[in-house]
């Protein structure tokens, strides 16, 4: 299973990078989201995956023992998911504003800092 997940991570990275390299701004955002998902999966995978053993202490116990999933990557990813929501929202609005002002969806039209472009 790990091998397949590793391949899926590779696919997510590849498609994310490919989308970011496109000229359309919407594709850029989709690419960023895919790449973000890839990173989450990468972290999750490198923390080793465990099936059916969430890192929650049993109500009778006081210490977590035996086999359990690593909580650290989970905590990392949890915040990453929420933050990337903020990032996506901001990026989407940036695209929207840009389109409204410049009337273009083409990133190549934006590669200048001049106002009159």
């Amino acid at each position: 299973m790990e091998i397949i997940l590793a391949i899926i991570t590779g696919v997510l990275y590849a498609s994310g990078i490919y989308m970011i390299m496109r000229r359309s701004m919407v594709k850029l955002i989709l690419g960023i989201i895919l790449l973000g998902n890839g990173v989450n999966l990468l972290i999750f995978l490198l923390g080793r995956i465990t099936k059916g053993e969430p890192p929650i202490i049993d109500s009778a116990e006081k210490v977590l023992e035996g086999v359990y999933a690593d909580p650290i990557p989970q905590a990392l990813i949890l915040t990453a998911i929420v933050i990337s929501f903020g990032l996506q929202a901001f990026a989407i609005i940036l695209v929207k504003r840009t389109y409204k002002v410049l009337k273009t969806d083409d990133l190549d039209q934006l590669n200048t800092t001049d106002e009159d472009s």
Binding site: M21, V26, T50
Partner: protein, 768 residues
């Protein structure tokens, strides 16, 4: 002492805010700062001449061994007095020289910034703080040279000077770090004890070269000398202060300071003597070809700096004393000559020596100052210059090898310096006053008193050399850690070889002055050789560098996101790919892998098809929907693999993201097919190889054993310390609570950004 150093910084800071009130008469008041500092340092004179060394230490970055530690010994005191003394006169002089200048406040700001930096430089006992002050002097010099910033010439000269001295600064930093590494301390006073450790270290030669590089660039030694004539574009008070009396001597000061630490025999002597000798002769001969008064003075300054380096290279006690005395001599006469040149320039509007004559009739006190300055410069008895020159000859005559040769070099340089002094100090005042200058009158005493004071001081010190001896020469000799022999400075040594040599110098100098007249023809002749001069060679080099960096930049900085990304990705693929290929061992232990069931396979298929559909669909809405599928597959995946919190969060965020897209997407245009197929294939190949790389990396990492120490700590203590049983949540709200706090702040910033981007702009547009 810290206060004394900071005073100048504080004053320039004050001028930033109160500069606009700083006009006219008020400018004179600012000279109270250098004057009071001068008096402050003067009070240390009795202690220091008695051989005492005063230390003061303020912690700054103690963990790096970088502290503001100051030391006041004979050498530091000499420089401190020179900086504040000449500084006082220059501050006064400037008040008249730039009386109605628009940026007078700015000028004083730079000037006091420089003064403070220079004081810090000579007082620093810590190599790192010395380096910082060293750089500050370069920076203030840059602003002062480029003070007339509306002239392209000024700006270019300022940049050249900054470039050269900046390179020197870097070398100094390198030298200081190496030296500190070898010695284990940055304190110069502690390095004195470690001389053997340093000279025996394998890095000794490198340290020496780095320190020399710093000193030579700052003190305008051949072949780095050319920034100094360019620096004469600065207003005359700056040339006086920075580029003759103080800043350019920082390199000499550094060599002086380092003599007891680094003087390790042959190589030290050879390099310093040869560089000093070449510089002093080369630039002394240049004097003949100059007609601009400041040009003459610039080259004679370089020549004098060459003499100083040369003397330090000789390194005997006699030579070091000669150097110490010559520093004083040079500061007195050269600063005076510069100020006089400034007066002439200010009044007549020209500095061309072929046009100036007979000015004594309109400005007698200036003429007197000029005459005395020329006498000091030429080493005519009974001035201090004579004492200084005698000491030089004594040093060269008693050096162990090549004494005759070195003496001849010294004599020829001195002859030319004699000529330079007379051309600059006497010639403009002699002869018949041209008609156009008849209306001139004497400027404000603020301008002519400073040079007069300095030249008279040169005269007094010459008559009573004991003053210099007890105040500076002896304490400095003691700082040099060589075996101290008692000595006395005298004006009259009786009839001996040295007197003969002095007489020859004076005679030849006089002959030269009367036979050789500055002509433009000579100047033009030498200009033709500029092509092979170090300056032009270096300028061409720098131009070539600029062209190269422009090409380089244009190649990488195209402004296209995909180019940047391709370069980064390609570089990573090459680098990591190389590593993986050279050291690839992929052993997968299938028994440790989690088993694959039908549920997971179906989720993964869903995920995969979602991803591929997102990439390849032509409809935006379909892409968004596919993205939703990807997100949902993720939350299922998290659920399967023991991360219920993640599953819940991913699910909720996914819902919100899709809503977000749907809200905005209809306002956006349809996909355009912008890239051609070739580009798509290229990008596809890049992306796929990057994906493969990531996959391989993951498999490699999965091979390695995992460090579970932190995980176990959390598992152990989640309930004991934080009374929580959901460890993920405990980490978020307790163990790493501050991180979470910052993360929610980021979220707030993003929300505010969205709000601002949409609301505020719309409002301002509505107003239009």
């Amino acid at each position: 002492m810290l206060g004394a150093v900071l005073l100048g910084f504080l004053f320039s800071l004050f001028l930033v805010f109160a500069g606009s009130y700083f006009r006219g008469k008020l400018a004179v008041l600012s000279s109270l700062i250098p004057i009071s500092l001068f008096i402050y340092f003067l009070t240390f004179l009795p202690q220091v001449s008695a051989g005492e060394v005063i230390y003061e230490n303020h912690e700054w970055i103690p963990s790096f061994g970088v502290n503001l530690s100051f030391t006041l010994d004979g050498l530091a005191l000499l420089f401190a007095l020179m900086i504040t003394g000449v500084g006082s006169l220059v501050f006064l002089y400037t008040a008249a020289y730039l009386k109605d200048h628009k940026y007078l406040d700015r000028f004083y700001g730079y000037l006091s910034l420089f003064m403070a930096a220079m004081l810090g430089l000579v007082l620093s006992d810590n190599l790192m703080s010395l380096f910082i002050f060293w750089e500050l002097t370069s920076i203030s010099s840059f602003y002062l040279i480029g003070f007339n910033n509306d002239k392209a010439d000024s700006r270019k000269s300022a940049l050249t000077a900054l470039g050269i001295t900046g390179i020197g600064g870097l070398l100094l930093l390198g030298g200081a770090v190496l030296l500190g590494d070898v010695a284990g301390t940055y304190r110069i006073s502690e390095m004195l004890m470690l001389r053997d450790v340093i000279t025996d270290s394998p890095h000794y030669l490198l340290i020496l070269l780095l320190i020399f590089g710093a000193a030579f660039t700052k003190s305008a030694q051949f072949p780095f000398h050319f920034w100094l004539p360019g620096a004469m574009k600065a207003p005359t008070p700056v040339s006086t202060y920075l580029h003759s009396a103080t800043m350019v001597k920082a390199g000499v000061y550094l060599l002086f300071r380092m003599t007891p630490v680094l003087n390790g025999g042959e190589i030290w002597h050879t390099i310093l003597i040869s560089v000093g000798a070449v510089t002093m002769v080369y630039s002394a001969f240049h004097i003949i070809f100059r007609t601009d008064l400041k040009g003459i003075l610039a080259y004679s300054t370089i020549s004098a700096l060459g003499i100083l380096v040369f003397l330090i290279g000789i390194g005997t006690q006699a030579a070091l004393i000669a150097a110490a005395v010559f520093i004083v001599v040079h500061a007195l006469y050269k600063a005076s000559l510069f100020l006089i040149t400034g007066i002439i320039d200010h009044e007549t509007g020209t500095r061309d020596v072929t046009q100036l004559a007979g000015l004594r009739k309109v400005m007698m006190p200036v003429a007197i100052a000029g005459f005395v300055a020329a006498l000091i410069s030429g080493g005519v008895p009974p001035t201090l210059g004579f004492v200084g020159k005698d000491l030089i000859y004594e040093a060269t005559l008693h050096f162990k090898d090549n004494a005759i040769f070195l003496t001849i070099i010294a004599i020829s340089t001195n002859v030319l310096l004699f000529y330079a002094g007379f051309v600059a100090g006497v010639k403009p005042f002699m002869g018949k006053l041209p008609e156009k200058f008849e209306k001139l009158h004497l400027p404000s005493p603020l301008m002519w008193l400073p040079p007069l004071v300095m030249t008279l001081a040169g005269l007094v010190f010459g008559l009573f050399p004991g003053l210099i001896e007890s105040a500076f020469a002896k304490p400095i000799a003691m700082t040099q850690a060589i075996e101290f022999e008692d000595f006395h400075l005298k004006l009259w040594h009786g009839f001996n070889t040295i007197l003969g040599l002095s007489a020859i110098t004076l005679l030849l100098g006089t002959v030269l002055y009367f036979t050789l007249k500055p002509k433009h023809a000579l100047e033009n002749a030498i200009a033709k050789l500029d092509v092979i001069a170090p300056k032009d060679l270096l300028l061409k080099l720098s131009e070539g560098f600029a062209v190269f960096s422009r090409l380089w930049t244009n190649f990488f900085q195209t402004g296209y996101l995909r180019h940047y990304l391709s370069i980064i990705v390609a570089f990573l693929i090459l680098l990591l790919g190389y590593l993986i290929f050279t050291d690839f061992s992929l052993e997968i232990d299938f028994s440790t892998l989690t088993e694959l069931t039908i549920y997971e396979i179906s989720i993964l298929l869903m995920l995969l098809s979602g991803v591929l559909y997102t990439v390849f669909t032509k409809s935006r809405l379909a892409a968004v929907a596919a993205l939703g599928v990807v997100g949902l597959s993720f939350s299922l995946l998290f659920l399967f693999y023991s991360a219920p919190d993640l599953a819940m969060t991913q699910f909720s965020v996914d819902t919100l993201t899709v809503i977000l897209f749907v809200l905005v997407l209809y306002k956006l245009p349809k996909y355009l097919k912008l890239s051609d197929t070739g580009l798509r294939i290229k990008h596809g190949v890049l992306s796929i190889s990057f994906g493969i790389l990531i996959t391989l990396l993951i498999l490699r990492v999965l091979n390695e054993p995992k460090n579970t120490e932190i995980t176990e700590y959390y598992a152990e203590n989640a309930y004991k310390l934080a009374r929580g049983k959901n460890i993920v949540n405990v980490i978020l709200v307790d163990f790493r609570g501050i991180d979470t706090m910052i993360e929610i702040s980021v979220l707030i910033v993003a929300a505010l950004g969205v709000f601002g981007l949409l609301k505020l702009r719309l409002k301002s547009r509505d107003k239009k």
